[in-house]
Structure formats: structure tokens, C-alpha cells
């Protein structure tokens, strides 16, 4: 995949994220302060606006930096800072790349996840976005060439979200409600899942979008 296609995919997927505002608002209100819907909708609109002026020459790094900065300041909540910082880390690891194969995409994704772990200091089981992100990246790692890899990632993410719902959040605002967070799905992890689902729609054949058939290789 070249940077032009990468930019279009990110744009198309981002356009679909505001549709999840209400769901994410309610999930975050149940165990936090209810602003995740705003962070994701305002953040993804800012990403689309940041991609607008970029030309075909824009490198993967430039694209990721633009997305990272835009997402982190639109509604600068914890999730905005985490994802924004992660995108900047991915931008760094994309330096010099002119093509993205699956292995490259995994490298970028690992850089993003690594920054979130470093900054947020959360671990698996703390009921954060990591509980969906890290297992799904392992699935990606283990079936790098499978045409169904994105479907498998979505399944594992969904399953992790449902499993961790019964846990007590140990990080961020949700942790302050202590037991009150038990029984509620993590809003950040759900936002990640919705992103993966929309990615699947955007790159699936038949959807109205540029020829992405080479993505599979």
C-alpha cells in the first residue's frame, strides 16, 4: 500500500467514527465523565480536516504526525492524549518507508501500542484500551498473511472487551469509582473495536472506495 492509499483509508475510516459518539458517551458516562464520545467525534473530524491539504507526496510519517496532532488537541481528554501520542510514535517508526506491507503496518501498530503502554503505565487486565489492542496485535502478528486477519482481530477485540467488563478498572478516571466500574465495558477499548470494524468495511471489496486489493498481500 502506498501513502496515498493509506491516507484515503484513514480518511474514510475516520469519517465513520462520529457515528459512535452517543454509544461512547454513554459507556464513558457509566464509569467516567462521559466525554469520550466528544473526544472520538471531534478527534476524527480533526483528522479528516488535517488530511485534507496533504498531497500525494505526503509521506507516511507526515500523515501520521498530522493525524496525531489533530486527534490529541480536538478534545484533549486522556484517550485523545494516548492515541495522539501513539500516532506520533507510529510516525517515527514509519520514517523512510515508501510502501507499507503487512509487516510494516504491524511495526507501526506496535510502536503506537508501545507508546500507550509507556505513557499510560497500564497492563493487561487493567481494563483499558490495551486489553483489546495488545491481543488483537498478537493475532495480527500470528496470522500475518491470512486474508481473514482483520476479522480475527475484530473477534478477539470483541471477546476481550466482553471478558474484561466484569473486571474493576485500575487505570484513569474509571478506577476512582472502584467497584462501581465492575460490569461496564471499557469505553476506550470499544472505540478501538469500532475503528477496526469500520476499517474492515472500508477495505472490503464492494464498498465504494479506491482499489485496495493489494492490501491483502
Amino acid at each position: 500500500m502506498d501513502s496515498n492509499t493509506f491516507r484515503e483509508i484513514i480518511g474514510l475510516v475516520s469519517q465513520r467514527q462520529p457515528a459512535h459518539e452517543e454509544e461512547l458517551r454513554d459507556l464513558d458516562a457509566a464509569l467516567g465523565d462521559g466525554d469520550l464520545g466528544i473526544t472520538v467525534s471531534a478527534g476524527s473530524r480533526a483528522v479528516c480536516a488535517a488530511l485534507e491539504p496533504l498531497t500525494d507526496e505526503a509521506t507516511f510519517t507526515a500523515i501520521l504526525i498530522a493525524c496525531g496532532k489533530a486527534f490529541s488537541v480536538a478534545n484533549p481528554s486522556t484517550f485523545a492524549a494516548l492515541i495522539g501520542g501513539g500516532l506520533l510514535a507510529a510516525a517515527k517508526s514509519a520514517e523512510g518507508k515508501t510502501e507499507l506491507g503487512r509487516a510494516d503496518i504491524l511495526e507501526l501498530a506496535d510502536a503506537l501500542a508501545g507508546r500507550i503502554v509507556a505513557r499510560g503505565k497500564a497492563q493487561l487486565g487493567d481494563k483499558t484500551i490495551l486489553d483489546a489492542l495488545l491481543p488483537s496485535l498478537d493475532t495480527f502478528r500470528n496470522s500475518l498473511d491470512s486474508p481473514e486477519v482483520l476479522n480475527e482481530m475484530i473477534l478477539i477485540a470483541q471477546c476481550q472487551i466482553d471478558e474484561t467488563a466484569s473486571l474493576q478498572s485500575a487505570r484513569g478516571r474509571a478506577s476512582w469509582g472502584q467497584e462501581r466500574s465492575i460490569g461496564h465495558k471499557d469505553p476506550g477499548a470499544t472505540a478501538y473495536l469500532r475503528f477496526l470494524e469500520d476499517l474492515l468495511i472500508v477495505i472490503s471489496p464492494g464498498t465504494q472506495r479506491p482499489d485496495l486489493s493489494d492490501v491483502g498481500t
Binding site: 465523565d33 466525554d35 478534545n75 484533549p76 481528554s77 485523545a80 492524549a81 478506577s175 462501581r180
Partner: protein, 335 residues
């Protein structure tokens, strides 16, 4: 929601315009978007600067504590959301007197990341930064994880203590030491009688019916740890004081300062009814109240409710607590 506003989008900027227009002799903006505001008389050569910050909707918190003997600069975020690292950096440069800057703010995820980012950038520009994070809410994490606790109204005492230390010329590490010492001796617990509504969200985060209360709530409309029938002022005050003293463990004969803080809609009269019982409970345990602060010190827009903070003093802290302080939102002189 009955609000006197023009529109949610321009709300914070209009608030900042109004504040800068109302108090030109005390405050000045050091960023084009007015989101970084500092003491009019800062930076002062070889004087430690103190930068705080956080979301809007909590006045007097955070901007209200920029002044003489208090914090020296603030970065202002949107309603209930963090300021960006650029805004924090602008405030940092606006107060740096060449001897370093202390970051002093409440423990919230977004704030921690953005302040850490700004600290990295400040170091690159030769400004030494130390950080002390307010973690006074006893309900938000068990004692063994007190470092993860939420920062709420008790941060007022940190501003008063650290600000007085900086005002008398203490060095950066000394100001940070004293601020951290104060943080270890402040405990807060709150009660909400109505939820607050994020202007942009338009819906409250939790619902409370007539005759219900939520114990252990924070400043951003987060749910507390217990929801139950609304109790009497004395019963509520019992709950808050006992939980705080169980965690702070003041010995009989100790001296404390007490803050009874209104969350926005609760009248001053009701806060004094709570103080009346708090004073009795402390007297029963032979704990002397050196100073009492009663009023709206850290609000949550129109939230009905209150919090109580207890700050255990020693000679060093008492002297700093008694020092003069003055901002357009808080003044203390002499006795």
C-alpha cells in the same frame, strides 16, 4: 439546563476574556489564545515559578489561584478537558525566573500526559521542571494506591503552601519538597446532590432523583462510590469526616486546617451548617482547627453538593498557611 451563555463553543474563551478584562492589574495572558495566563508581575528574576492547569468549569480552580503567595501561572483547558502541552509550555515560559518551575496540578490522566510532555519540551529549552500531583480524594483509591488518587478541592492547600514558599524565595527542590509534604497531609471527600452536565454533552453523567445523594463524587460529574437516600447535614458530615480521619490518622492534640467547599449550587449557609458539625467532631477527638475556609473553592459548574478537606499542620506548614496571599478570587491577610 438554564445557563447564561452565548454558545458552548466560545464559552471558555469568553470566560477568559471577561477575567482578563476584569482584573488587568493582577493577571495577563502569555499566549495568543489566552489559554496561558500568569501573574501580572511575573516572571520575577530568580523566583521559582509554579504552573498549574486543568479543565474549565471549576472556578476558582485553577485560574483563581494564580496570584501573590499562590501559583504563578495556569494553562486553561476546555470544559472538563486538559490543556494542551503547548499551552502548558507557554505558561511555563511566562513564569520562569531562571531558577526552575514547579508543575502543581490535580491527578487526571489527560493532564498528567500533557504536563509530562510540556516538561520534556521545557527541559529542551533549559527550564528545569519538577512536578507534584494532588491526590487528596480518599474515596478514589485505597490507601496502598494513594498515588493513584484523584486531585480535588484539597489542592487549594497545596497552592497556599507552595505559593508562600516560592514567595519567600525558596529554591525549586525546597518548594517541591514542601508541596509534596502538604499533599501527603491533605485528605478530601465529597457528596453530590445533583449531577453536573458537560455543556457539549448536554446530558448528565449520572442521574440523581429528589431525595438521593451520591457520596465520593469528583469534580467532573463522575459517579461516586455510594448512592443512597439524602441524609441530614450532620449525618453527611459524619460520613465525610470519619472517612477522612480514618485515612489521615491525626493524633489527638494535632492542629489542622479545614476546608468546607461548595460545588457550585449549594448555598454558603448550608456549608456553614456542615462546618458546625465538623468542628464538633474534631473537638471531640481533641483536634484543634487552626484555620477554617468555607465557600466555593473548587466547583463543578452548577453541581449541588460539597466536599470537606482536612489538612494536618506542623510548625513549617502553619507558618506558610498563615502567610499573606492575594488573587482576584482569593485574599488572605494577617490574622
Amino acid at each position: 439546563m438554564q445557563k447564561i451563555i452565548n454558545n458552548p463553543e466560545s464559552f471558555v474563551d469568553e470566560v477568559l476574556d471577561g477575567i482578563l478584562l476584569a482584573h488587568p492589574n493582577s493577571l495577563k495572558s502569555v499566549s495568543s489564545d489566552n489559554r496561558a495566563v500568569v501573574r501580572a508581575d511575573y516572571p520575577i528574576d530568580s523566583r521559582v515559578g509554579i504552573v498549574t492547569g486543568g479543565g474549565s468549569g471549576h472556578l476558582p480552580l485553577f485560574l483563581g489561584y494564580v496570584g501573590k503567595g499562590l501559583a504563578s501561572g495556569v494553562a486553561v483547558g476546555n470544559v472538563f478537558s486538559s490543556p494542551s502541552s503547548e499551552q502548558i509550555l507557554a505558561a511555563t515560559k511566562g513564569v520562569s525566573g531562571g531558577v526552575g518551575v514547579l508543575y502543581l496540578y490535580g491527578n487526571y490522566g489527560g493532564d498528567v500526559f500533557n504536563f509530562d510532555l510540556a516538561a520534556d519540551e521545557a527541559e529542551l529549552e533549559g527550564i528545569e521542571v519538577l512536578t507534584v500531583i494532588g491526590t487528596d480524594d480518599v474515596q478514589s483509591a485505597p490507601a496502598e494506591r494513594s498515588k493513584d488518587r484523584r486531585g480535588v478541592a484539597g489542592i487549594f492547600f497545596l497552592y497556599k503552601i507552595a505559593g508562600a514558599a516560592a514567595e519567600r524565595g525558596d529554591g525549586l527542590s525546597e518548594v517541591a519538597r514542601i508541596a509534596a509534604k502538604a499533599n501527603d497531609r491533605v485528605r478530601t471527600m465529597g457528596v453530590a446532590l445533583s449531577p453536573t452536565i458537560l455543556p457539549a454533552a448536554g446530558k448528565p453523567t449520572f442521574t440523581l432523583d429528589e431525595g438521593e445523594m451520591e457520596i465520593g463524587t469528583g469534580l467532573h460529574g463522575e459517579r461516586g462510590v455510594h448512592k443512597g437516600p439524602l441524609e441530614s447535614a450532620d449525618a453527611i458530615t459524619d460520613r465525610l469526616i470519619q472517612a477522612i480521619l480514618a485515612d489521615l490518622k491525626c493524633a489527638p492534640g494535632s492542629r489542622v486546617a479545614v476546608l468546607v467547599n461548595g460545588l457550585g449550587a449549594t448555598p454558603l449557609e448550608e456549608l456553614y451548617v456542615m462546618y458546625r458539625h465538623a468542628a464538633k467532631l474534631l473537638k471531640d477527638q481533641d483536634i484543634t482547627v487552626h484555620r477554617a475556609y468555607v465557600g466555593e473553592y473548587a466547583t463543578s459548574l452548577e453541581m449541588a453538593g460539597a466536599s470537606i478537606s482536612i489538612f494536618e499542620l506542623d510548625d513549617e506548614l502553619e507558618a506558610l498557611l498563615d502567610a499573606d496571599a492575594a488573587s482576584p478570587f482569593f485574599e488572605q491577610h494577617g490574622v
